[in-house]
Amino acid sequence: MRAAIVVIGGGIQGLSVAYNLAALGERDVIVLDAGYFQGGASGRNGTLIRGGFMSNEWTGLFALANQRWIELSRRLGRNVMFSARGYLLLAEKPATAANFDAALATHRAHSVRSHRATQADLAKLAPALDRSRVLDAIYFRDGGVAPHHAAMDAYHRACTAAGVRIRYGSPVTQILTRGARVVGVVGDGDGDGDGFEIEADAVVLAAGAYGNAVAKLAGVELPGFPMRIEAMVLEPTRAVVRPAIAFIDSLCYMAQTARGEIVGGAEVPEQPTESLACDLPVMTATARVYRDMLPCLAKLRILRHWAGMLHATPDFGPLIGAHPSFANLWVTGGWSYGFACAPAAGELLAKAILKGVLDPRIVPFALDRFAQNRPVREGGIVLAARV
């Protein structure tokens, strides 16, 4: 078999690249995924979306992504159920609040609609919040949530309609190389016996937490390691918190879904683990932040709690671009906010692959930035790891 482009990984990143390749005219694309549809982080995340961060680099990329989410249902021809319910970024510590002025200026420079939320604003936006603990707040009016099942379904159908072939249960086990180029992939039929070998002009590595393991199939490495992240959901209640909220200092995020459940999670600095089994400390830490910051949630019951796997890089920033060792091995990985950013990352990477144009918004996230000692410093994310 052959295809112009093979995409390894059918999470939201892989599907977004595939969709954008097809939209730019390259329909000879095969997406191969080792697991099942929505089985990776793309079917296990908090679904929060915002356009602004603290750094210029993150804000540049996510500003585009947020803009794309607003029009995504129309582009894909199917409702992604994006709900621009707003997004609050909260500081509880002076050191965090001290960065908010600069952050607001960065947002303005990228046309992200954000403003400082005063105590009076907070009383209106999120009456459930214990405001006495909030030192400062930034509000993104275009931020919000999109249920991952709706977004994934829309991408999947749009890809299929454009002629992209998508196969789950099809792990890639070898990447074939010749000199400084990759020339194809070999894989398993995952038990049903249909192994495959596909020649390709280019390969896109979009394997989420397994990015490093897949890169090794081509004999190369990616910076970073697999990391477990957990989230939980509370029983449905009437609408009590409209915007999505990130508590930067409590390392916690949450949002209420359209059907009334509260979804979110706290980060507990744990050793990097490769496991989808959830652990108790994340649930108790999330519950403590809810009880302290959103007291009305205290009496709600916890429906379930689960884990997903990410690929954490040394600066927690994504890896986007060609691999330094192979000009036609493209990577979109290292994502910790890869759900929100998928529409932008897929679009810009597809342009790079087909037109050879590297958009300035992806350049800072080049794979060799650590080797070049140019990590991207971002202080507005909710992540913690003991490394």
Binding site: G39, H149, R238, A277, C278, A287, R288, D292, C296, L303
Partner: protein, 358 residues
């Protein structure tokens, strides 16, 4: 059916000044379930000089067996009993057990243990026939409890099962219930009624009644065993063997009887998961389009994502998938996730810091 509005909240409420707190216990053995098998296991471990904690949902452990007239041996005085608690989840291969009090106002308990013994018994699976989700259809456990409290108010009652129906009918009658017929659950074809049960059709006849009690098919709740033994990174799936430090005893170890499922095409409008409004027809529409992966079907339909968190709904879903795919689809379940509505945010917060992070 079960969506926002289920729980009403006042967003303006204040933080409680007295945090609830929590408990942490250490044990050599945790036994879940206070029936005959659980008591036997707990007593044996206590006799062997081990620190044993027994978790039981009832105030008096073994209430179901008692209702059945099964004599219960007394619990060894050295066994620490946590009555009116449910094991809401197990973590770290079963070495950490979350014991949640039934009362949301009491603190929860976290137990670190060497061994885990599941004596959680079996439960009767609702029959997948039209009308099975009408109020008035109850399982044997609930019926016996209800009868002990309200007896005659159950109204004319039909008891159907896989063998235990005669015994259950007798006990119900002793509690004052009016049992008008008994029979095999496999002969049940439909339950009729508008807002509650008005009649049932079984054995080729139709009987007017107000309550239908199902006594089997008996199935085990797979959730705790799954959580203790599941592994994997592409998908959590039950590991081939249960860990050496875990045992399943009593009727929970006896395996499952097959769920009672009628002719699928006639069931299109029947709910598999009443809380999330998932019908057999919805599942079939995905299966007919070629999708039989149980995790994908769960995400596509939200089956089992309401208050029961998959037990018993997923047992019915997998039976439908199995039948509709002609046996080709694997007979597996979606991942069972703790704590299954067993604990409140306040109770969970009370346990924060009690367990070292790994």
């Amino acid at each position: 059916m079960y969506l926002s509005g289920e729980v009403d909240l006042d967003p303006h409420c204040e933080r409680s000044l007295e945090p609830l707190g929590g408990n942490r216990l250490n044990a050599d053995v945790v036994v879940v379930g206070g029936g005959p098998a659980g008591r036997r296991a707990a007593n044996e471990s206590a006799t062997a000089g081990l620190r044993v904690i027994l978790i039981s949902r009832s105030t008096v452990p073994g209430s179901f067996a008692t209702q059945f007239g099964v004599p219960l041996r007394p619990l060894d005085a050295r066994v620490t009993l946590l009555p009116s608690h449910a094991a809401a989840g197990v973590y770290r291969e079963g070495h950490v057990v979350l014991a949640a009090p039934i009362a949301p106002t009491l603190p929860a308990t976290l137990i670190v243990t060497n061994r885990l013994i599941l004596a959680t018994g079996r439960r009767s699976c609702p029959p997948l026939v039209p009308g099975h989700d009408l109020p008035g259809v109850v399982d044997a456990h609930a019926a016996l409890q209800l009868a002990a409290q309200i007896g005659a108010s159950l109204g004319p009652t039909v008891v159907l099962g896989t063998g235990g129906q005669t015994l259950v009918a007798q006990i119900l009658a002793q509690s004052g219930a009016t049992v008008i017929a008994t029979g095999q659950i496999a002969s049940l074809t439909r339950v009729n009624g508008r807002n509650r049960v008005q009649s049932v059709e079984f054995d080729g006849r139709r009987v007017d009644c107000r309550t239908l009690v199902h006594v089997g098919p008996w199935i085990t709740d797979p959730s705790l065993g799954f959580q203790a033994s599941a592994a994997g990174v592409l998908r959590l799936a039950r590991a081939a063997a249960t860990p050496a430090h875990m045992d399943v005893v009593g009727s929970a170890a006896e395996g499952d009887e097959s769920p009672q499922v009628g002719e699928l095409q006639a069931l299109r409008g029947t709910a598999v998961c009443p809380c999330m409004d998932v019908t057999v027809g919805e599942l079939l529409s995905h299966i007919e389009a070629g999708e039989t992966h149980i995790e994908v079907l769960k995400r596509a339909t939200s089956c089992g994502m309401g208050p029961c968190q998959g037990f018993p709904c997923w047992e019915l879903m997998r039976a439908v998938v199995q039948r509709a795919s002609g046996g080709k689809a694997g007979y597996d379940r979606p991942s069972h996730r703790p704590p299954r509505r067993g604990i409140t945010v306040e109770q969970a917060a009370g346990l924060d810091g009690f367990l070292e992070v790994e």
